[in-house]
Amino acid sequence: MDYHQLVKDCLRGNTAAQRQLYEHFAGNMLGVCYRYTKSMVDAEDVLQEGFIMVFKNLHQFSFSGELGGWVRRIMVNTAINYLKKHSRYQTELLFTEGVLHPVSDDDPEVLLSTKELADLIRQLPPGYQTIFNLHAVEGYSHVEIGKILGINEGTSRSQYARARSLLISWIKKLSAVTKNETYARP
């Protein structure tokens, strides 16, 4: 796909080009939004806001990087803002040291499907979920996460460690169940 031409057409106000750009990225970006939110409705809200931001700021895209990466960053930022803005996420985004989970260094093999893994991540508390997504999936450093979320780097690290261990424990449990189910089948 010729992104250069597509972006130019979008900037000219060509609705067909805008639709094409949307359809090209909407599926994957909804996956991104899905990971940060707790429901598909919220995910679609974030997707909508994100694409509005994309089209309104498309003139700022400099073609030096990938368009997909640029759109993805906007989606992630929109998702973070969405979580900060909405009260149902806001209360749980307070990164307290209250709940502690056992930390395990034993990395299991992820045998789950993509959807199952995403659903597991979504079951994490919102703070854990966000930090896990930002660090493990998006590749942000803890310093960057601290700046994005307005928390200390150390908090981000500890939260991530707990999120990770919690997720691993869930994966292990699920994997065991899956294995048992597999063995139980005739």
Binding site: G13, Q18, F51, I52, P108, V110, A118, A136
Partner: protein, 487 residues
């Protein structure tokens, strides 16, 4: 430290995560992105359609009220004679002018030239039974539109009643049966006033005084006075707040020294030092001052005066340059001993040049660039010609006060025929007239105005000599204002 294997595995898995969003998402995105553009059309029509309807209604209303009374009034002479007050003997004979003014509906009728008009009130019928101003003509006036309209509304029923009366009298009145039929046909034409045509000929109508007494007074009485209809309220004045905003301005172009607006000065000298000794008679030397590069830059502050006018002030440093062909450079200290030929017979040439360390003879050996650096204080008014969002046009006009900061310009003395530097030869203070046509180009939160500019020095550049030389600048003007337009 965690093993990144888990993260990589998770990352890989989640890269594949994809869902198909519902159609409502795109619909909402499209509305949000392109909604404003689409909304303009209905809003535009929302205002335009009522405006068109009102304009059309106004045209029909006012054009109709001008036509109908003339037609209706012209019909009246054929109708009214049924009134018992009027008799053929009592009416004066029809004059050719009034007869010709009758409508085509009753050309052969014996209608009197001075018809009796039925009054709208019973009292006026007795007090003023006859029409006494046959020579008065219809003169449209904007102030009489209400009167005419009320008159026209009364014309048709009055005419019909007149016809009925004519039928009853059948011959005793002025109208014959034939003319009564003509009157009926004319009444029909009155009833269908939508198709009535304006009478272009002189139409005999009552005087304005009669109009006022018969028709205007009741109508005016029904109208509420201004104070009754609209109780006095303190007027609310919504004056927009205009504030100063600053930006940068600059330009580049060509400058020249003009004798008049478009005539460049010519340097002429009969004292060519190279030619005189050889030929024995002086050779006339001619050179024109050529235009050269000019540019300027500075700051500008603007304050809107109204929606279309903006006051603009600034502070600029303006560089002007012109080119002139010169001859040899003569060092004054050496010339007295090494070039005696130059001195012979050219006393004034030496006298003028002797006061300066060096000078240039006339000739075409070299090109000298006269440079002027002016500090300018421009003041202008910007008129926004149109209110286009994409390409707004601005016309700027004003004056600038300039002070010469530095110059290396050569002064040409036509008497001595030499170029020499003289700091006092140039007027340091200049007043310039400037104008520019600019087009607005919005660029990412900035307002760039660009367009051609011309500037003409009203004051002469030279403080000495008879040759008036004015600085002229023509080029591109750029004004950069941060932020979006506030008004």
């Amino acid at each position: 430290m965690h093993d990144p294997k888990f993260e990589k595995e998770v990352q890989q898995k989640l890269e594949e995560l994809s869902f198909s969003p519902s159609d409502a998402v795109w619909t909402r995105v499209e509305q949000a992105v392109n909604g404003k553009k689409r909304r303009r059309v209905p809003v535009f029509w929302l205002f335009l359609l009522p405006a068109l309807v009102m304009t059309g209604a106004g045209v029909i209303y006012f054009s109709g009220t001008r036509k109908v009374p003339a037609t209706a009034m012209a019909q009246r002479p054929a109708i009214v004679p049924a009134s018992p007050v009027t008799s053929p003997a009592a009416t004066p004979p029809a004059s050719p002018s009034t007869a010709s003014s009758l409508p085509a509906a009753a050309p052969t009728s014996s209608a009197p030239a001075n018809p009796v008009y039925p009054s709208s009130t019973a009292t006026s019928a007795h007090t003023n039974p006859t029409y006494t101003k046959p020579t008065d003509t219809y003169r449209p006036s904007s102030g009489m539109s209400v009167v005419r309209q009320s008159h026209a509304r009364r014309a048709a029923p009055a005419a019909i009643s007149g016809v009925a009366a004519a039928d009853e009298t059948s011959g005793e009145g002025v109208l014959s049966g034939h003319s009564a039929e003509a009157a009926v046909s004319s009444v029909k034409s009155v009833a269908s006033t939508a198709t009535a045509k304006a009478v272009t000929a002189r139409v005999t109508l009552p005087g304005r005084n009669d109009f006022g007494r018969h028709y205007a007074a009741p109508t005016a009485a029904r109208l509420p006075t201004t104070s009754q209809a609209f109780p006095a309220k303190a007027p609310i004045r919504l004056k927009p707040k205009y504030s100063w905003e600053s930006g940068f301005a600059g330009g580049i172009g060509l400058s020249s020294q003009n004798k008049t607006l478009f005539q460049q000065p010519t340097i002429m000298s009969d004292l060519s030092p190279n030619a005189a000794p050889i030929t024995g008679r002086p050779k006339t030397y001619t050179s024109q001052v050529q235009p050269d590069l000019s540019y300027w830059a500075g700051i500008v502050v603007q304050r809107p005066l109204s929606k279309v006018l903006t006051l603009s002030l600034g502070l600029d440093l303006h560089y002007y340059s012109t080119k002139v062909q010169i001859g040899e450079k003569v060092d004054n200290s050496l010339s007295a001993s090494s070039s005696p030929s130059l001195l012979t017979g050219q006393s004034q040439y030496v006298q003028t040049a002797a006061a300066y360390p060096y000078y240039y003879s006339v000739g075409n050996k070299d090109v000298f660039v006269n440079r002027y650096y002016f500090l300018e204080l421009p003041g202008s008014v910007v008129w926004q010609v149109n209110h286009s969002r994409n390409l707004p046009l601005f016309w700027e006009g004003g004056f600038s006060l300039a002070y010469l900061v530095s110059s290396n310009a050569l002064y040409f003395n036509s008497k001595s025929g030499v170029f020499y530097k003289d700091g006092n030869a140039t007027k340091k203070t200049q007043i310039n007239l400037t104008t520019a046509l600019l087009v607005g180009l919005p660029i990412r939160g900035l307002r760039l105005q660009a367009g051609p500019q011309v500037q003409y020095g009203l004051t002469s550049l030279q403080s000495q000599g008879s040759g008036m030389q004015h600085l002229f600048y023509g080029g591109l003007r750029l004004v950069l204002l941060p932020g979006k337009a506030k008004n």
